[in-house]
């Protein structure tokens, strides 16, 4: 059977984005060791639930699964350790480029300010910064596209799906009421 070809793929789904099967990617060993350490901590924690009290105890499945995690993570770490490092790749270029770091920071900042500032201002800032950073187009284009995208998203999810996002500093309820009155008025 034909195997899934990562080169024919854009990164969607489970395909490995780049890398060679028999070579170690930059940072892969550190990640494998991190998983091994985290699995060991989880196993210890699972043992703490009920110890070896009974096979039907609430800790039985957690202990079994975390034990499997420790064993498999150790196997992966050992295999990764034995593989030669792929010298054609670098951590900064292929695994964690500046763009990804910038977006990770942007996302965390978004999460931190969502409740205090509210959905609309935080999303507007996020979209404008992100679209400008990625597109490198004029300010007019960036502002137009970002605000239009935000307006459509807000209308669909706030009005159609009735999703309540944190209002923060924006009088969102009044805005929705005004919008509804406008349409009701139009209908009359």
């Amino acid at each position: 059977m034909q195997k899934i070809d990562p080169d024919h793929h854009d990164g969607t789904s489970d395909a490995t984005p780049g890398g060679e099967a028999d070579k170690r990617r930059p940072g892969e060993l550190a990640f494998a060791l991190f998983l091994l350490g985290a699995s060991a901590i989880l196993l210890w924690n699972a043992y703490g639930i009920a110890g070896f009290e009974a096979l039907s105890s609430p800790g039985a499945i957690p202990m079994a699964t975390t034990a499997v995690m420790v064993v498999t993570a150790a196997m992966v770490a050992l295999k990764t350790l034995r593989m030669p490092l792929d010298s054609t790749e670098t951590l900064r270029r292929d695994i964690l480029p500046l763009t990804v770091i910038v977006f990770a920071v942007l996302l965390v900042a978004y999460g931190l300010f969502l409740r205090t500032l509210g959905f609309l201002p935080v999303s507007a800032i996020f979209l404008i910064v992100a679209v400008k950073y990625l597109g490198r187009r004029s300010w007019g284009w960036t502002l137009g596209v970002s605000l239009a995208a935000l307006a459509i998203t807000w209308l669909i999810f706030r009005i159609v799906f009735s999703v309540l996002m944190p209002a923060g500093i924006v009088p969102e309820a009044e805005m929705v009421q005004a919008l509804r009155s406008l349409f009701q008025g139009g209908a009359q």
């Binding site: 489970d14 639930i49 096979l55 975390t66 995690m69 990804v100 990625l134 999703v163």
Partner: protein, 500 residues
């Protein structure tokens, strides 16, 4: 008669029909736009539709699922970028056809073949599910446990190739699913004495993070890639073309249904196996495979759409998802108070026939949208990634927050998104994680029921496995899947083939 009425519910209620149509339309584009996946779309959508009634929510999600499986083929043909993993095989011959100026023909053939495959899959679902469900009533708790393990193992072994990483991912999913207070004893599990962990981790946050944010972060590597434009001519294929490929489409549809029905295998595996089958049975293709052979389009497209109906069989009758998307669909059903499994067919057969009706409607909409609106389509798929990626991130955040109006779900989602990004880079499959999270409860409950019924005696448990034919088959299947991925098996296989 009642079944027929339930089946026709979606066709007789304009609102539901509209939602299926809307979902299919959106699904075609979601599946087609590189960077958006059906799994991502359905997982984000669950959070927005959870306050809806069950019927409209399911109608919309089924439309997206059906349209998305088909939509992936569009960009595979036009841009050589499969919009979904199930369209990877389609690109092998579809893109060469487009380069020869036959993009319209290729799109037309894939649409009609997807329609045929889709119908065969739905037909098998409608006929087989009631029998499988009756049979599933005989399942003991240990059988469910074994089936859950089999599903996770299959996803782990087939989607990526590294069984060890697949098993790790599945176990991680089960552990994530166990976080919080145990529903039976109220004991704390993996809470680290933090109150916010006591309620567990929302599986929707995990799903959106792993499939939405990690995907968007990965797409940042491809921001500068330019889209290739193709000229599109005639789309509707001739009757002679359809007739000529009908025998192959029936064969590959069967492959699709069977592969789709196996727990843990979905449209991507079905499509690749069907492509492989077509290569073997087509002795003299007009154009060689890989250079634009029509058979190379027919096979994967019928198979991946037939796999949709197939994947619903274990999902509806056993509560075991066929692949990552059906795992998410199970989550959606849970959220709407339904409990997929053999009892669903007894307690709520109306829901089963309603879903079959939605699938049929979605299949017709797929044909309609597949053969029309190609100009709009080319405009939409050319949407710059600099806008698309931030939008996916925004939708992921809104989706994660919307479920419980909880900011901590957003943090979980972001955490799993970043974690999933690294997992993908280092070749850990994400499918088993989601399957593990969804199946964690089923596995835990059934293990405890099974071992309590055997009076906590492991010897008696294994005696039960060996003496029950069904448990034995499942147990052997689990062992076989495991052993088949080990070097010992590969060594034995190569030895055997050398000798013969």
């Amino acid at each position: 008669m009642t079944a027929l009425m339930d089946f026709l519910t979606v066709l007789t209620q304009p609102q539901l029909l509209l939602l299926v149509g809307l979902g299919t339309f959106a699904g075609v584009y979601v599946g087609a736009i590189p960077g958006l996946s059906v799994t991502m779309a359905v997982s984000i959508l669950i959070s927005f539709t959870f306050s809806w009634d069950v019927h409209p929510a399911i109608a919309l999600m089924i439309g997206i699922y059906m349209g998305g499986v088909y939509g992936g083929s569009r960009t595979a043909i036009l841009l050589n970028i499969p919009g979904a993993p199930s369209a990877i095989a389609t690109a092998l011959d579809g893109y060469p056809m487009a380069q020869r100026g036959e993009a319209g023909t290729a799109i037309g053939v894939t649409t009609v073949m997807s329609f045929i495959g889709g119908f065969i899959g739905i037909g098998v679902l409608a006929l087989a599910a009631p029998f499988v469900s009756d049979f599933a009533l005989k399942f003991q708790p240990r059988d469910y446990m074994l089936l859950a393990i089999l599903g996770i193992l299959l996803v782990g072994s087939l989607s990526q190739g590294s069984l060890v990483k697949g098993i790790f991912a599945g176990a991680l999913g089960i552990a994530i699913g166990a976080v919080g207070r145990d529903p039976l004893t109220f004991a704390e599990r993996f809470t680290f004495d933090l109150r916010l962990m006591e309620g567990g981790i929302s599986f929707i946050a995990v799903m959106i993070g792993m499939f939405g944010v990690s995907e968007a972060l990965l797409q940042l590597h491809h921001v500068d890639k330019d889209a290739v434009r193709q000229k599109i001519t005639r789309i509707v294929p001739s009757l002679a073309t359809v007739k000529k490929h009908l025998p192959l489409s029936l064969q590959t549809s069967s492959i699709g249904v069977v592969i789709g029905a196996l727990p843990g295998t979905g449209g991507d595996i079905a499509a690749l196996m069907a492509y492989d089958h077509a290569k073997r049975v087509t002795k003299n293709p007009e154009v060689p495979f890989g250079k634009g052979a029509m058979e190379g389009l027919v096979a994967p497209e019928t198979a991946n759409n037939a796999a949709v109906g197939g994947a619903f069989i274990p999902m509806m009758t056993l509560g075991i998802p066929g692949d990552a998307v059906t795992a998410i669909m199970i989550g959606a059903l849970f959220i709407h108070g339904l409990n997929p499994g053999p009892m669903l067919m007894i307690d709520q057969p109306d829901m089963f026939w309603f879903i079959v009706g939605c699938l049929v409607a979605a299949n017709f909409f797929m044909l309609l949208f597949g053969l029309t609106g190609i100009r709009l389509f080319t405009k939409i798929v050319e949407m710059p990634r600099s806008v698309l990626i931030p939008l996916i991130m925004l939708l992921s955040i809104v989706g994660a927050f919307a479920v419980n109006n909880s900011i901590s779900d957003v943090y979980w989602m972001l955490g799993f998104g970043i974690f999933g990004y690294f997992m993908r880079h280092y070749g850990y499959p994400l499918g088993p994680v989601i399957l593990g999270v969804i199946l964690s409860r089923l596995l835990d409950d059934n293990w405890r029921r099974a071992i309590i019924s055997e009076r906590e005696d492991l010897g008696r448990f294994f005696e039960g496995v060996v003496t029950s034919p069904l448990s034995l088959v499942l147990f052997v299947a689990v062992i076989l899947v495991f052993v088949s991925q080990t070097p010992v098996w590969r060594w034995g296989k190569s030895k055997l083939f050398k000798e013969s």
